[in-house]
């Protein structure tokens, strides 16, 4: 499909937005909007994937729109084709899911118009080839997603979530604006191609890196700019949460890749340092905080932060390798990052869909009121289990492969000659492993509390399985999680063109190896075969089960639980999400969060109930943001006095400003 075809697709999405604004019967609107978005994004996805796999030529297009002397430039290269495929696949899945899920929406007119606009904006960001179009569509992405976050504005807390989100998004866009301004520099041309051509004359690359890390990183959820994400992502309807977590964060990663890997030019030796540090801290903080949350969607949002941290660790490694001239290692690290981008978009969408299914079935988001749902909702439960295993980086699913590739990249890094990197990378490796282990604990908690055990509320007791659209969407994603985990070689080969576009070299072709194995550097060094591991596990499990059932005993008796002899029929005696997290809370308290527990135990004979109170504090918020907020308020208080001056005082202020400026001009020249 020519590039104009993609733009027509974007225009079609925008038309859907307009259509949604027309007054019409609500039910039909849901089908038309989600069905239309599904059709358009499916075409976009198919052609982007074909573009990536067939290795077709890059395409560029200039339209006489926007700023007169600049126009609007678009380009589709390997990188944007990959991200476009990820974005549009997420959009296809979300739209399909929403065909069923969207019917439960109470106020569809607050969601429907912004949904296609959000999709169009994400597509446009990826297609943009100049700073103007990029920033415009970036801002459109922020605003439309903000509107979607605010769609349930009556729910307590959502208004604050929307406010924090819009403030962070604006500051982030501003940082990107500055970054592009610095890159355009003296030439003053905002087309990416011109900026790329003048990369060697640039002097302030460090500032641009910092601005890109802040601008794109705050959108992706990098610590310490992550505070908006766990507020905003859960507030939106679940299919939009899936898009924001699974896809929009990837667009943010794309922004970082485009600026730092593509336009900014050859990296300096220290560029990897801040990226690695921020990534590692983000991964651990996200994993830890996710483990302490009770709201299911908020757990998922924190886990998005963790995964973004993992992606940035791999990106930082890639930058470090590239700056030191190790192309193959840089390609390996970048492949790990992009593989994780793909994986995370798959399983995070799946998990958010699952949380939406739970919300539909029970009306509950709080883990503390779920339980026993695997018996009531077997299919949702199975797909959620797949998602939980995949995101916990366990073989043979896909999350493990990308993390394995990242570990392999770390193992190559002693060749780097810089002492700072030598000191930092082992610590980063340990933090990556810690984040993975914490994620596994977090998802044992999520699945164990929500789907296993006994129901903790009537809503959970009476839940029923959700509609077919949701199930098919989740099932497809689940199968893909397994397939990409079992056949990682195909994904790595597909990522080859864009890795070589950004780094200059790509990983060796994996399809030559037997048995569909992967070997990042050489087979003698390390190799992994997801397919064989998967086959081994299934065969030996089935074999053991078959032998025992055939030759020994297959009799089962259903009985009340034993529980060491004193079972309690009350489901409140089960472990709760808080009690499950208690050991971890106690061990890691002080690392990114502070937990304080107070137990109020009445004296014997006292009739008062015992009380247990748990307080959690996000230290980043308390020590990073609260001071800023209070400073702003203090300044605002001071400036507030300016509102109560006489006209003469106002005039004298203006006069003083004028004189001051003239004086400055006189001294300056």
């Amino acid at each position: 499909m020519p590039l104009s075809g993609y733009l027509i697709g974007v225009a079609a999405l925008l038309l859907l937005t307009l259509a949604a604004l027309l007054p019409r019967p609500i039910r039909a609107g849901t089908v038309v909007i989600y069905g239309g978005s599904l059709g358009v994004t499916a075409v976009l996805f198919a052609s982007a994937l074909w573009q990536l796999l067939s290795g077709a030529d890059w395409m560029a297009l200039s339209l006489p729109l926007g700023i007169p002397w600049l126009g609007a430039n678009f380009r589709l290269d390997a990188l944007s084709a990959f991200i476009l495929a990820v974005v549009d696949f997420g959009a296809v899945a979300a739209s399909f899911y929403a065909l069923g899920y969207g019917r439960h929406e109470h106020e569809p007119e607050r969601v429907l118009p912004f949904y296609p606009a959000f999709l169009a904006a994400m597509n446009l960001v990826v297609l943009a080839d100049d700073a103007f179009v990029f920033l415009l569509s970036w801002e459109m992405m922020s605003l439309s997603s903000w509107a979607l976050v605010m769609s349930h504005h009556q729910v307590p807390g959502n208004a604050r979530a929307g406010f924090v989100y819009i403030v962070m998004a604006s500051i982030g866009t501003f940082a990107l604006l500055l970054a592009f301004g610095l890159m355009a520099g003296d030439v003053g041309d905002y087309a990416f191609s011109t900026m790329r051509a003048h990369a060697s004359e640039r002097t302030v690359t460090g500032v641009v890196l910092a601005l890109a890390l802040f601008g794109a990183g705050s959108k992706a959820g990098l610590a310490p700019f992550h505070v908006w994400l766990p507020l905003a992502h859960p507030a939106a309807p679940s299919h939009v949460s899936a898009l924001m977590s699974g896809v929009m964060t990837k667009v943010a990663v794309y922004g970082f890749l485009r600026i730092v890997f593509d336009i900014l030019g050859a990296p300096a030796w220290w560029w990897g340092l801040p990226v690695l540090a921020v990534g590692a801290i983000t991964a651990v903080i996200g994993a830890l905080l996710g483990l302490t949350q009770n709201d299911l969607k908020r757990v998922l949002a924190y886990s998005t932060i963790e995964n973004i941290g993992v992606i940035f660790i791999a990106l930082g490694l890639s930058l470090a390798f590239r700056a030191h001239g190790y192309g193959a290692a840089a390609a390996l690290a970048l492949t790990a990052a992009l593989f994780h981008v793909l994986n995370h978009s798959l399983f995070k969408s799946l998990l958010f869909f699952g949380s939406g299914a739970l919300l539909t079935a029970t009306g509950e988001r709080s883990l503390a009121r779920l339980g026993g749902l695997l018996n009531r909702m077997p299919m949702t439960g199975l797909f959620m289990l797949v998602g939980c295993v995949a995101i916990s980086a366990l073989p043979p699913f896909n999350g493990f492969v990308s993390e394995w590739l990242a570990f392999q990249a770390i193992l190559l890094s002693p060749v780097l000659s810089s002492w700072a990197l030598k000191l930092m990378i082992p610590a980063v490796g340990a933090m990556l492993a810690l984040a993975a282990a914490l994620a596994a604990a977090a998802y044992v908690r999520v699945f164990g509390i929500a789907f296993l055990g006994r129901p903790r509320s009537d809503a959970a007791r009476n839940a029923v399985e959700v509609d077919r659209f949701s199930l098919i969407a989740m099932g497809t994603l689940g199968v893909l999680c397994l397939l990409t985990g079992v056949l990682p070689g195909l994904v790595i080969d597909a990522l080859g063109p864009l890795v070589s576009q950004l780094i200059g070299t790509a990983m060796a072709n994996q399809s030559q190896l037997g048995w569909l194995a992967i070997a990042p550097i050489a087979e003698s060094r390390s190799s992994y075969d997801g397919l064989l591991v998967f086959l081994f596990i299934t065969t030996s499990a089935l074999m053991a089960a078959a032998i025992i059932h055939r030759f020994a005993s297959d009799v089962s008796r259903i009985a009340p639980p034993w529980d060491c002899g004193f079972p309690d029929p009350d489901s409140a005696t089960q472990y709760t999400p808080e009690s499950f997290a208690q050991p971890v809370r106690r061990v890691f308290s002080g690392l990114g969060f502070a937990a304080s527990e107070t137990v109020d135990m009445p004296r014997p004979g006292d009739q008062r109930p015992a009380r247990f109170e748990l307080r959690l504090k996000d230290l980043v918020w308390d020590y990073g943001y609260q001071p800023v907020v209070s400073t702003v308020f203090t300044i605002a208080d001071i400036l507030n006095r300016l509102q109560f001056l006489t006209i003469r005082q106002y005039l004298s202020l203006v006069f003083a400003a004028l004189v001051f400026l003239l004086l400055a001009l006189a001294i300056w020249t």
């Binding site: 026993g372 087979e523 992994y528 053991a544």
Partner: protein, 318 residues
């Protein structure tokens, strides 16, 4: 050698890790009993237990889901596959390249993941307690293991266990500080992962400090047999892992002929015996820790692994 021979050795290896695993547990119990001047159960008692359990009916709690019945087989399969990938008497097996050391750790992580889920499935307080503590230990033990693997991989230049073992056999290796650190760390992780004293007590039930036994409390019959067998398999996996990396004597590459392989099998049995005696002596001479001392204990393994890796990064010769 031809494919058939390779396959034979691979299957031999799979059986060789599976069959003596209960014997190792029985041997440790026997030595521990003898150290306490007791007679102890017969050596073959674990086999009898498993056969007895397999033949009995399985009692399943009424609140359990299908996952509860599937988990014993999944855990057993993951542990067995992981154990089969650790060289015991021969290196360079037919499928040894299909997963490296990191993947073996992750396979054990999968087994633990499902076991922890099973602990929560029935919805009792004991099960939740076990799962929650097991996952807390794992949050430290797994990074510790990864860091130890890093230091080993940086010394041997590979994460493939066969290659690591061959490197350790070669004269190039020498005495290394990071190796010593890694060994201590690996022993600590092995103790914690196998729920041995001082982290957990394999012999106790009905105690609030238990972890592993609390998770599997609701299992009975064939399911319990599978769980017990996986636990025994995991213990012999860690022993084989330590033996293969730090004491690789007797390992022969595939195709070396019958005699070296027989010698390798004998050496493997000998290593298991030595490890069993060492573990029994250690367990008898030490008291169990409070649960919240355990993170410090495993934390030491993590620190040692990190230190070893740092040393490898700093200087090529350490």
């Amino acid at each position: 050698m031809n494919l058939f021979g390779n396959l034979t050795i691979q299957i031999l290896q799979m059986l060789l890790v599976l069959l003596p695993a209960p014997l190792l547990t029985g041997f440790i119990r026997k030595v521990k009993a003898r150290l306490l001047r007791k007679k102890g159960p017969p050596l073959l008692q674990p086999y009898r237990d498993i056969i007895k359990l397999v033949g009995k009916e399985a009692v399943v709690a009424d609140s359990a889901s299908w996952l509860f019945r599937a988990v014993p087989y999944l855990v057993f399969a993951a542990t067995w596959v992981a154990a089969a990938l650790v060289p015991t008497f021969a290196t360079g097996l037919l499928f040894s390249w299909s997963a490296d050391l990191i993947a073996i750790i992750a396979l054990l992580g999968s087994a633990r993941f499902f076991l922890a889920l099973a602990g929560m499935d029935v919805g009792t307080s004991f099960g939740g307690l076990g799962s929650s503590r097991e996952m807390m230990f794992a949050t430290l033990a797994e990074p510790a293991m990864i860091m130890i693997v890093f230091s080993l991989a940086l010394i041997a230049g590979s994460t493939q266990l066969s290659n690591v073992a061959e490197f350790m056999l070669s004269p190039a290796v020498g005495l290394r500080v990071s190796l010593a650190l890694g060994l201590i760390g690996l022993v600590i992780v092995a103790i914690a992962e196998n729920a041995r004293i001082p982290v957990d007590n394999p012999a106790t039930h009905l105690e609030l400090t238990m972890v592993h036994e609390a998770m599997v409390l609701e299992y009975s019959g064939r399911h319990l047999a599978m769980i017990e067998l996986s636990a025994e398999l995991k213990l012999s996996l860690y022993v084989s892992l330590i033996a293969c990396v730090f004491f690789p004597w007797g390992l022969a590459p595939v195709g070396a002929g019958i005699a070296p392989h027989l010698f390798g099998i004998a050496a493997y049995i000998g290593k298991l015996a030595v490890a069993g005696v060492a573990l029994a002596v250690f367990e008898t001479s030490i008291a169990k820790m409070r649960v919240f001392r355990v993170p410090d204990f495993i934390g030491v393994a993590l620190m040692l692994g990190l230190l070893a890796t740092l040393l490898r990064f700093m200087s090529g010769s350490l």
